[in-house]
Assembly symmetry: C2
Homo-oligomer: 202 residues x 2
Amino acid sequence: MGTVSADISMSLDGYIAGPNDIPEQGLGEGGERLHEWLYNLESWRRPHGLSGGDSENPANELMDGLLKHSGAIIVGRRMFDLAGEWGDEPPFHMPVFVLTHRPRETMEKRGTTFHFVTDGIESALRQAKTAAGEKNVAVGGGAQTIQQFLAHGLLDELQIHLVPVLLGDGRRLFEPGPPMEFEIARVLETPGVVHLTFRVVQ
Amino acid sequence: MGTVSADISMSLDGYIAGPNDIPEQGLGEGGERLHEWLYNLESWRRPHGLSGGDSENPANELMDGLLKHSGAIIVGRRMFDLAGEWGDEPPFHMPVFVLTHRPRETMEKRGTTFHFVTDGIESALRQAKTAAGEKNVAVGGGAQTIQQFLAHGLLDELQIHLVPVLLGDGRRLFEPGPPMEFEIARVLETPGVVHLTFRVVQ
Protein backbone atom coordinates (compact mmCIF):
# COMPACT_ATOMS: atom_id res chain seq x y z
CA MET A 1 0.00 0.00 0.00
CA GLY A 2 1.50 3.32 -1.03
CA THR A 3 1.62 6.56 0.93
CA VAL A 4 -0.43 9.69 0.40
CA SER A 5 2.02 12.53 0.08
CA ALA A 6 1.63 16.22 -0.71
CA ASP A 7 4.47 17.91 -2.51
CA ILE A 8 4.83 21.64 -3.06
CA SER A 9 7.37 24.46 -3.42
CA MET A 10 7.11 27.20 -0.80
CA SER A 11 8.93 30.46 -0.14
CA LEU A 12 10.58 31.12 3.21
CA ASP A 13 7.70 33.43 4.04
CA GLY A 14 5.20 30.66 3.40
CA TYR A 15 3.82 31.46 -0.06
CA ILE A 16 3.23 28.93 -2.82
CA ALA A 17 2.23 31.58 -5.37
CA GLY A 18 2.69 35.32 -5.71
CA PRO A 19 -0.09 37.92 -5.72
CA ASN A 20 -2.60 37.82 -8.61
CA ASP A 21 -2.35 34.13 -9.38
CA ILE A 22 -4.98 34.17 -12.11
CA PRO A 23 -5.00 31.85 -15.15
CA GLU A 24 -3.10 34.37 -17.33
CA GLN A 25 -0.42 34.71 -14.67
CA GLY A 26 0.05 31.11 -13.54
CA LEU A 27 1.90 31.31 -10.24
CA GLY A 28 1.30 35.04 -9.77
CA GLU A 29 3.80 37.88 -9.58
CA GLY A 30 7.19 36.46 -8.67
CA GLY A 31 5.71 33.01 -8.17
CA GLU A 32 7.70 31.35 -10.97
CA ARG A 33 10.76 31.91 -8.77
CA LEU A 34 9.52 29.06 -6.57
CA HIS A 35 9.82 26.54 -9.40
CA GLU A 36 13.12 27.75 -10.90
CA TRP A 37 15.03 24.96 -9.19
CA LEU A 38 12.96 22.46 -11.22
CA TYR A 39 13.25 23.77 -14.75
CA ASN A 40 16.76 22.59 -15.50
CA LEU A 41 16.36 19.13 -14.02
CA GLU A 42 16.45 16.29 -16.52
CA SER A 43 13.62 14.57 -14.65
CA TRP A 44 11.45 17.66 -15.04
CA ARG A 45 12.36 18.32 -18.68
CA ARG A 46 11.79 14.77 -19.93
CA PRO A 47 8.08 14.47 -19.05
CA HIS A 48 7.61 17.97 -20.45
CA GLY A 49 9.01 16.77 -23.79
CA LEU A 50 12.28 18.70 -23.42
CA SER A 51 15.70 17.17 -23.94
CA GLY A 52 18.85 17.72 -21.88
CA GLY A 53 18.96 19.06 -18.36
CA ASP A 54 20.93 18.40 -15.21
CA SER A 55 20.96 14.76 -14.15
CA GLU A 56 23.76 15.13 -11.55
CA ASN A 57 21.86 17.39 -9.16
CA PRO A 58 20.42 15.19 -6.35
CA ALA A 59 17.14 17.06 -6.82
CA ASN A 60 16.91 15.26 -10.16
CA GLU A 61 16.70 11.86 -8.52
CA LEU A 62 14.28 13.21 -5.94
CA MET A 63 11.84 14.42 -8.59
CA ASP A 64 12.36 11.34 -10.73
CA GLY A 65 11.49 9.14 -7.76
CA LEU A 66 8.42 11.20 -7.02
CA LEU A 67 6.98 10.62 -10.48
CA LYS A 68 8.12 6.97 -10.68
CA HIS A 69 6.61 6.00 -7.34
CA SER A 70 3.33 7.83 -7.81
CA GLY A 71 0.43 6.05 -9.44
CA ALA A 72 -2.14 8.84 -9.29
CA ILE A 73 -2.27 12.56 -8.59
CA ILE A 74 -4.93 14.71 -6.95
CA VAL A 75 -5.13 18.44 -7.66
CA GLY A 76 -7.58 21.21 -6.94
CA ARG A 77 -9.68 22.71 -9.72
CA ARG A 78 -8.08 26.09 -9.21
CA MET A 79 -4.62 24.65 -9.80
CA PHE A 80 -5.94 22.81 -12.85
CA ASP A 81 -7.18 26.13 -14.24
CA LEU A 82 -4.01 28.05 -13.33
CA ALA A 83 -1.93 25.44 -15.14
CA GLY A 84 -4.05 26.01 -18.28
CA GLU A 85 -5.29 22.40 -17.95
CA TRP A 86 -1.63 21.45 -18.62
CA GLY A 87 -1.98 22.09 -22.36
CA ASP A 88 -1.88 19.33 -24.94
CA GLU A 89 0.92 17.29 -23.40
CA PRO A 90 0.54 17.06 -19.62
CA PRO A 91 3.68 15.75 -17.90
CA PHE A 92 2.02 13.23 -15.60
CA HIS A 93 1.32 10.13 -17.71
CA MET A 94 -0.91 8.76 -14.99
CA PRO A 95 -4.49 9.35 -13.77
CA VAL A 96 -5.08 12.84 -12.37
CA PHE A 97 -8.10 13.46 -10.14
CA VAL A 98 -9.32 17.06 -10.21
CA LEU A 99 -11.46 18.24 -7.28
CA THR A 100 -14.28 20.37 -8.61
CA HIS A 101 -17.90 21.33 -8.03
CA ARG A 102 -18.75 21.19 -11.73
CA PRO A 103 -19.22 17.76 -13.32
CA ARG A 104 -17.17 17.25 -16.46
CA GLU A 105 -16.38 14.28 -18.67
CA THR A 106 -13.14 12.39 -18.22
CA MET A 107 -10.50 13.80 -20.53
CA GLU A 108 -7.58 11.88 -21.99
CA LYS A 109 -4.46 13.67 -23.19
CA ARG A 110 -1.57 11.52 -24.41
CA GLY A 111 -1.26 9.16 -21.47
CA THR A 112 -2.64 11.49 -18.82
CA THR A 113 -6.29 10.98 -17.92
CA PHE A 114 -8.10 13.75 -16.03
CA HIS A 115 -11.01 12.60 -13.87
CA PHE A 116 -13.27 15.29 -12.41
CA VAL A 117 -14.43 14.43 -8.90
CA THR A 118 -17.44 16.31 -7.56
CA ASP A 119 -18.16 14.39 -4.37
CA GLY A 120 -15.28 15.51 -2.17
CA ILE A 121 -11.72 14.71 -1.19
CA GLU A 122 -12.45 11.37 0.44
CA SER A 123 -14.01 10.10 -2.77
CA ALA A 124 -11.10 11.50 -4.80
CA LEU A 125 -8.64 9.75 -2.51
CA ARG A 126 -10.50 6.43 -2.76
CA GLN A 127 -10.49 6.63 -6.55
CA ALA A 128 -6.84 7.71 -6.65
CA LYS A 129 -5.79 4.86 -4.34
CA THR A 130 -7.59 2.35 -6.56
CA ALA A 131 -5.92 3.78 -9.64
CA ALA A 132 -2.49 3.89 -7.98
CA GLY A 133 -2.59 0.28 -6.78
CA GLU A 134 0.67 -0.37 -4.90
CA LYS A 135 2.08 3.02 -5.83
CA ASN A 136 1.79 6.31 -3.96
CA VAL A 137 -0.90 8.93 -4.33
CA ALA A 138 0.53 12.43 -4.79
CA VAL A 139 -1.44 15.47 -3.70
CA GLY A 140 -0.13 18.16 -6.00
CA GLY A 141 -1.85 21.24 -4.58
CA GLY A 142 -2.80 23.96 -4.49
CA ALA A 143 -2.78 25.33 -0.98
CA GLN A 144 -6.47 24.81 -0.29
CA THR A 145 -6.38 21.18 -1.41
CA ILE A 146 -3.38 20.42 0.83
CA GLN A 147 -5.06 22.24 3.74
CA GLN A 148 -8.18 20.11 3.27
CA PHE A 149 -6.19 16.87 3.19
CA LEU A 150 -4.29 17.87 6.33
CA ALA A 151 -7.43 18.95 8.17
CA HIS A 152 -9.13 15.63 7.39
CA GLY A 153 -6.10 13.57 8.45
CA LEU A 154 -5.74 12.08 4.98
CA LEU A 155 -2.04 12.80 4.41
CA ASP A 156 0.83 10.52 5.42
CA GLU A 157 3.58 12.89 4.34
CA LEU A 158 4.10 16.49 3.43
CA GLN A 159 7.11 17.40 1.31
CA ILE A 160 8.01 21.07 1.10
CA HIS A 161 10.62 22.37 -1.29
CA LEU A 162 11.69 25.46 0.64
CA VAL A 163 13.01 28.21 -1.61
CA PRO A 164 15.16 30.85 0.21
CA VAL A 165 13.24 33.87 -0.94
CA LEU A 166 10.62 36.18 0.51
CA LEU A 167 7.82 36.67 -2.02
CA GLY A 168 6.38 39.33 0.27
CA ASP A 169 2.77 38.58 -0.62
CA GLY A 170 0.63 35.99 -2.36
CA ARG A 171 -1.09 32.73 -1.53
CA ARG A 172 0.03 31.04 1.68
CA LEU A 173 0.33 27.30 2.05
CA PHE A 174 -0.85 27.49 5.66
CA GLU A 175 -3.81 29.59 6.68
CA PRO A 176 -4.95 29.65 10.31
CA GLY A 177 -6.21 26.19 11.25
CA PRO A 178 -5.92 23.46 13.86
CA PRO A 179 -2.52 22.80 15.51
CA MET A 180 -0.71 19.74 14.16
CA GLU A 181 2.51 17.81 14.88
CA PHE A 182 4.90 16.26 12.36
CA GLU A 183 8.04 14.16 12.49
CA ILE A 184 11.00 15.11 10.36
CA ALA A 185 11.37 12.26 7.87
CA ARG A 186 14.11 13.71 5.65
CA VAL A 187 16.08 16.90 5.08
CA LEU A 188 17.94 17.31 1.80
CA GLU A 189 19.75 20.39 0.57
CA THR A 190 20.27 20.75 -3.17
CA PRO A 191 21.42 23.88 -5.04
CA GLY A 192 19.09 26.73 -4.13
CA VAL A 193 16.44 24.69 -2.31
CA VAL A 194 15.94 22.69 0.89
CA HIS A 195 13.67 19.66 0.56
CA LEU A 196 11.87 18.94 3.82
CA THR A 197 9.80 15.79 4.25
CA PHE A 198 7.50 15.62 7.23
CA ARG A 199 5.52 12.62 8.42
CA VAL A 200 2.12 13.41 9.84
CA VAL A 201 1.81 12.28 13.48
CA GLN A 202 -1.64 10.70 13.74
CA MET B 1 34.35 42.52 12.06
CA GLY B 2 31.51 40.26 13.17
CA THR B 3 28.27 39.49 11.40
CA VAL B 4 24.80 40.72 12.24
CA SER B 5 22.61 37.68 12.55
CA ALA B 6 19.00 37.15 13.56
CA ASP B 7 18.12 33.90 15.25
CA ILE B 8 14.63 32.64 15.99
CA SER B 9 12.49 29.51 16.33
CA MET B 10 9.58 29.28 13.89
CA SER B 11 6.78 26.78 13.29
CA LEU B 12 6.28 25.20 9.88
CA ASP B 13 3.32 27.52 9.37
CA GLY B 14 5.49 30.56 10.03
CA TYR B 15 4.64 31.52 13.61
CA ILE B 16 7.16 32.53 16.27
CA ALA B 17 4.53 32.74 19.02
CA GLY B 18 1.03 31.42 19.54
CA PRO B 19 -2.13 33.52 19.90
CA ASN B 20 -2.38 35.82 22.93
CA ASP B 21 1.31 36.40 23.49
CA ILE B 22 0.86 38.79 26.37
CA PRO B 23 3.31 39.18 29.28
CA GLU B 24 1.47 36.64 31.45
CA GLN B 25 1.54 34.10 28.63
CA GLY B 26 5.07 34.51 27.28
CA LEU B 27 5.07 32.87 23.88
CA GLY B 28 1.28 32.62 23.65
CA GLU B 29 -0.94 29.55 23.45
CA GLY B 30 1.14 26.62 22.23
CA GLY B 31 4.14 28.88 21.64
CA GLU B 32 6.39 27.18 24.19
CA ARG B 33 6.38 24.19 21.83
CA LEU B 34 8.72 26.18 19.56
CA HIS B 35 11.44 26.31 22.24
CA GLU B 36 11.11 22.75 23.56
CA TRP B 37 14.15 21.63 21.57
CA LEU B 38 16.25 24.12 23.60
CA TYR B 39 15.28 23.34 27.15
CA ASN B 40 17.29 20.16 27.60
CA LEU B 41 20.47 21.45 25.97
CA GLU B 42 23.43 21.88 28.30
CA SER B 43 24.32 25.14 26.52
CA TRP B 44 20.83 26.51 27.23
CA ARG B 45 20.67 25.26 30.83
CA ARG B 46 24.09 26.56 31.93
CA PRO B 47 23.47 30.30 31.28
CA HIS B 48 20.05 29.86 32.90
CA GLY B 49 21.77 28.60 36.06
CA LEU B 50 20.62 25.00 35.58
CA SER B 51 22.92 22.00 35.77
CA GLY B 52 22.96 18.94 33.54
CA GLY B 53 21.43 18.71 30.10
CA ASP B 54 22.29 17.12 26.79
CA SER B 55 25.76 17.98 25.53
CA GLU B 56 25.86 15.31 22.76
CA ASN B 57 23.07 16.76 20.65
CA PRO B 58 24.67 18.81 17.83
CA ALA B 59 22.14 21.54 18.63
CA ASN B 60 24.07 22.01 21.86
CA GLU B 61 27.22 23.09 20.05
CA LEU B 62 25.17 25.27 17.73
CA MET B 63 23.62 27.22 20.60
CA ASP B 64 26.88 27.30 22.52
CA GLY B 65 28.62 28.84 19.51
CA LEU B 66 25.86 31.37 19.09
CA LEU B 67 26.34 32.72 22.61
CA LYS B 68 30.16 32.45 22.51
CA HIS B 69 30.52 34.31 19.24
CA SER B 70 28.04 37.06 20.04
CA GLY B 71 29.23 40.20 21.78
CA ALA B 72 25.93 42.05 21.97
CA ILE B 73 22.23 41.36 21.47
CA ILE B 74 19.42 43.53 20.14
CA VAL B 75 15.80 42.83 21.08
CA GLY B 76 12.50 44.62 20.68
CA ARG B 77 10.76 46.15 23.69
CA ARG B 78 7.80 43.83 23.26
CA MET B 79 10.03 40.77 23.53
CA PHE B 80 11.74 42.30 26.55
CA ASP B 81 8.32 42.67 28.22
CA LEU B 82 7.12 39.20 27.19
CA ALA B 83 10.26 37.69 28.71
CA GLY B 84 9.45 39.44 31.99
CA GLU B 85 12.65 41.49 31.55
CA TRP B 86 14.45 38.14 31.92
CA GLY B 87 14.02 38.12 35.69
CA ASP B 88 16.91 38.51 38.11
CA GLU B 89 19.43 36.35 36.27
CA PRO B 90 19.29 36.97 32.52
CA PRO B 91 21.14 34.33 30.52
CA PHE B 92 23.05 36.66 28.19
CA HIS B 93 26.05 37.93 30.17
CA MET B 94 26.68 40.59 27.53
CA PRO B 95 25.20 43.98 26.62
CA VAL B 96 21.58 43.82 25.45
CA PHE B 97 20.13 46.75 23.48
CA VAL B 98 16.38 47.07 23.83
CA LEU B 99 14.53 49.03 21.11
CA THR B 100 11.92 51.22 22.76
CA HIS B 101 10.10 54.54 22.47
CA ARG B 102 10.31 55.20 26.20
CA PRO B 103 13.66 56.37 27.64
CA ARG B 104 14.85 54.32 30.58
CA GLU B 105 18.06 54.14 32.55
CA THR B 106 20.60 51.45 31.80
CA MET B 107 20.01 48.43 34.00
CA GLU B 108 22.63 45.94 35.15
CA LYS B 109 21.70 42.43 36.24
CA ARG B 110 24.54 40.05 37.12
CA GLY B 111 26.69 40.47 34.05
CA THR B 112 23.91 41.40 31.61
CA THR B 113 23.50 45.12 30.94
CA PHE B 114 20.28 46.35 29.36
CA HIS B 115 20.58 49.56 27.35
CA PHE B 116 17.36 51.20 26.18
CA VAL B 117 17.67 52.73 22.73
CA THR B 118 15.04 55.28 21.71
CA ASP B 119 16.53 56.60 18.46
CA GLY B 120 15.92 53.64 16.15
CA ILE B 121 17.45 50.44 14.88
CA GLU B 122 20.42 52.01 13.11
CA SER B 123 21.53 53.65 16.34
CA ALA B 124 20.98 50.41 18.24
CA LEU B 125 23.07 48.54 15.70
CA ARG B 126 25.90 51.11 15.88
CA GLN B 127 25.99 50.84 19.67
CA ALA B 128 25.77 47.05 19.59
CA LYS B 129 28.61 46.80 17.06
CA THR B 130 30.80 49.01 19.23
CA ALA B 131 30.00 46.89 22.28
CA ALA B 132 30.57 43.62 20.38
CA GLY B 133 33.98 44.59 18.99
CA GLU B 134 35.20 41.68 16.87
CA LYS B 135 32.30 39.47 17.89
CA ASN B 136 28.89 39.11 16.24
CA VAL B 137 25.76 41.10 16.93
CA ALA B 138 22.72 38.88 17.50
CA VAL B 139 19.25 40.16 16.71
CA GLY B 140 17.09 38.14 19.07
CA GLY B 141 13.61 39.16 17.94
CA GLY B 142 10.74 39.46 18.06
CA ALA B 143 9.16 39.30 14.65
CA GLN B 144 8.79 43.04 14.18
CA THR B 145 12.42 43.73 15.08
CA ILE B 146 13.66 41.12 12.62
CA GLN B 147 11.31 42.48 9.93
CA GLN B 148 12.72 45.98 10.49
CA PHE B 149 16.31 44.80 10.26
CA LEU B 150 15.55 42.90 7.06
CA ALA B 151 13.67 45.79 5.50
CA HIS B 152 16.56 48.16 6.21
CA GLY B 153 19.18 45.77 4.83
CA LEU B 154 20.94 45.56 8.18
CA LEU B 155 21.12 41.77 8.53
CA ASP B 156 23.92 39.57 7.20
CA GLU B 157 22.33 36.31 8.22
CA LEU B 158 18.99 34.90 9.29
CA GLN B 159 18.94 31.65 11.25
CA ILE B 160 15.60 29.93 11.59
CA HIS B 161 15.10 26.95 13.87
CA LEU B 162 12.21 25.30 12.05
CA VAL B 163 9.99 23.25 14.34
CA PRO B 164 7.81 20.66 12.55
CA VAL B 165 4.51 21.76 13.97
CA LEU B 166 1.56 23.85 12.85
CA LEU B 167 0.63 26.32 15.58
CA GLY B 168 -2.44 27.23 13.53
CA ASP B 169 -2.47 30.87 14.64
CA GLY B 170 -0.30 33.45 16.39
CA ARG B 171 2.41 35.92 15.49
CA ARG B 172 4.07 35.38 12.11
CA LEU B 173 7.76 35.99 11.53
CA PHE B 174 7.04 37.29 8.03
CA GLU B 175 4.26 39.74 7.34
CA PRO B 176 3.68 41.04 3.81
CA GLY B 177 6.70 43.10 2.76
CA PRO B 178 9.22 43.59 -0.02
CA PRO B 179 10.53 40.54 -1.93
CA MET B 180 14.01 39.42 -0.89
CA GLU B 181 16.56 36.78 -1.92
CA PHE B 182 18.77 34.67 0.34
CA GLU B 183 21.53 32.13 -0.12
CA ILE B 184 21.42 28.90 1.84
CA ALA B 185 24.45 29.07 4.14
CA ARG B 186 23.83 25.95 6.23
CA VAL B 187 21.22 23.26 6.85
CA LEU B 188 21.49 21.19 10.01
CA GLU B 189 18.98 18.64 11.28
CA THR B 190 19.00 17.85 14.99
CA PRO B 191 16.37 15.91 16.95
CA GLY B 192 13.00 17.55 16.35
CA VAL B 193 14.25 20.70 14.60
CA VAL B 194 15.85 21.84 11.34
CA HIS B 195 18.32 24.73 11.67
CA LEU B 196 18.36 26.81 8.49
CA THR B 197 20.92 29.57 8.06
CA PHE B 198 20.36 32.02 5.22
CA ARG B 199 22.75 34.69 4.02
CA VAL B 200 21.10 37.89 2.88
CA VAL B 201 21.86 38.65 -0.79
CA GLN B 202 22.57 42.39 -0.90
